[in-house]
Assembly symmetry: C2
Homo-oligomer: 193 residues x 2
């Protein structure tokens, strides 16, 4: 396929080191060294460290977005089944992309990127979820709590679940755990359960 350019090597090394050490405490020099390229090469491909971080952030968010597409045959199913499918897509992506998930957390807590960029990325990410919740409320399947509270709740729930399985890798394979994790998610927002 598309060959691995030095730019790609740098992005990949950056992701690895960021997720291990945090963004601020990872030097550009160490990124270049880990990628096996010269220091100056990094600044040929990226204007500065911030530009490197935001390139990585945007690329990772796009990866995630493209993983969260529901297949067409699901659209005829019940809302709960659609939510469950979405939830499993997200969890699967999280456990198979642990570096990206911790990187997202770091971008949020280290205040490295401008808030505007993060909020914009979040908005598009939550639009599917927002639609599902609205539909579910109209069908009296989902509790009628304020939308902002529900959206925040669902999002942090998913991230927390992903991190839990990343931190306890041996549990990923156990179907009971995965099912229970979804049940905790669904019971909270569903009417009648």
């Amino acid at each position: 396929m598309s060959k691995t350019t030095k730019r790609d090597l740098l992005l990949n090394s950056a992701l690895t080191l960021f997720s291990e050490q945090g963004i601020h405490s990872t030097s550009t020099a160490s990124i270049a060294k880990h990628a096996g390229v010269a220091n100056g090469t990094l600044f040929h491909h990226f204007e500065n460290k911030h530009s490197l971080v935001s390139s990585l952030y945007i690329a990772s968010k796009q990866q995630l977005a493209s993983a969260l597409v529901l297949s067409d045959d699901l659209l005829s199913q019940s809302l709960k089944q659609q939510v469950e499918a979405l939830w499993h897509l997200a969890l699967n992506w999280a456990v198979s992309h642990p570096r990206q998930l911790t990187f997202f957390q770091q971008v949020a807590t280290e205040n490295f990127l401008p808030q505007a960029l993060r909020i914009k990325a979040m908005k598009t990410e939550l639009s599917i979820l927002e639609m599902m919740i609205t539909v579910g409320q109209a069908q009296k399947i989902i509790v009628e709590y304020p939308l902002d509270l529900l959206l925040d709740h669902c999002q942090s729930q998913m991230i927390a679940s992903g991190l839990f399985f990343i931190n306890n890798p041996s549990l990923i394979a156990i179907d009971d755990y995965r099912d229970n994790a979804f049940n905790l998610f669904w019971r909270a927002i569903a009417i009648d359960a």
Copy 2:
């Protein structure tokens, strides 16, 4: 009361700057300047930056722990009422100590302190919750999912709720929001709701 020593000033300034900028990107020089003391004074009171951070972490965790004590008359109430009381204590502490809460997040994601210290602090913190869950399961009030999953779930739920209200301060005063937030928490783990 106890007078504010320069050591206290330094800890307080550190907390403010850390929560705004992150730990790694806050210099000891800026902490001393913000506290209105000389650079060298910081290193008289703390051996190095790590020692400053861990002192602050331990003190903050103790503050939190002392805020989470249930009053005696609650012990005769139902388990749900005890859980609800604990939940509100935690939420109240969070919204009135926003700097501490973001600082906890930063310690966790920036990997600044040794994991052992963090795990130890977490263990004691979760012991009350663990007891409540175990009792609730015996009484068939709380779902019988694995304890590690439930503990992680409850903890991240509480933190997420706290951060939500810190990020949306205008909603704190609205009782409905607080009640709904607790309901989302309780519905997930309660049997029969």
